[in-house]
Symmetry: C2
Subunit: 139 residues, 2 copies
DNA sequence: TATTGTTATACTCTATAACTATA
DNA sequence: TATAGTTATAGAGTATAACAATA
């Protein structure tokens, strides 16, 4: 399949799955991007606002409100950068970590049920596609 | 890999690729979801507003504005349903079809470039993953 | 009464531009 | 002068509730 055709099919599929996932909100107050940002804080080295925003592929002003919301819920803590007074270092709190694992499981349940209905081969294909998708989201 | 873990990895990857694609807007005025809706009109049998909305996984009121915009640009036409006066049948115009193919190619170029950098095996995995992703977006 | 499309309204997430504090 | 974080503001896309027209 030519790359352009593959890109088009992928994009259409991603839009659809994205919409589907967006509808699948549990009863909790956190949206997909809040959880994703929380996860980014765990992953990013020296998580300043700019770095967290870059990891989530958004501009810093977009991340400000997300972090403020997470902070107001007690899931994120902030402290001054030890050497550069302009920067702020963010970290996930204990309750944030606990909530993250619980909520992830609840949020993934519907998708997991659909995945359960796949054949072993299809699941394998999906599993091998994920790191490729991640690479397509880089740069 | 357990389904829940797979679901979680997939969700994170989808959020990231989705954001990346959203940034890749050409110089034209149509967004991803406008193109997707236009494509849905081509695909759906007897495309009424409710059916197009369902195909795009949004509620009817959300699709109204999308179709109005596409109509104002001359890409979509509407006509009364022959037997049920409550319904409206939408169709893509000639200029809509032409724009769709041109724009799709332009929009896919950046993603296609990244796909070109993949190995043949990775591309194959991606290609086989797409119909699986489509199935995950169904009901 | 029920259904289709629509309008009114509000919420979420995003961006750009401009501000402040520090380097 | 340049950079990190923030605030102000606006735009896109989504949903729910309420409405008109038709079945």
């Amino acid at each position: 399949m030519p790359s352009l055709v593959l890109a088009d099919s992928l994009r259409v599929a991603m839009v659809r799955v994205g919409r589907r996932m967006r509808r699948e909100r549990g009863d909790e107050s956190l949206s997909l991007h809040h959880l994703s940002a929380l996860g980014a804080i765990q992953m990013v080295e020296e998580p300043t606002l700019a770095r967290i925003a870059a990891a989530e592929c958004v501009k810093p002003p977009s991340m400000v409100k997300t972090l403020q919301h997470l902070e107001s819920l007690g899931y994120v803590e902030r402290r001054d950068h030890p050497s550069d007074g302009r920067m702020v270092l963010f970290s996930i709190s204990d309750s944030g970590e606990q909530m993250l694992s619980e909520t992830r499981e609840r949020r993934n349940r519907a998708l997991a049920e659909l995945i359960d209905a796949l054949t072993a081969e299809e699941r394998d294909t999906l599993e091998r596609a994920i790191p490729i998708l991640e690479r397509l989201s880089e740069r």
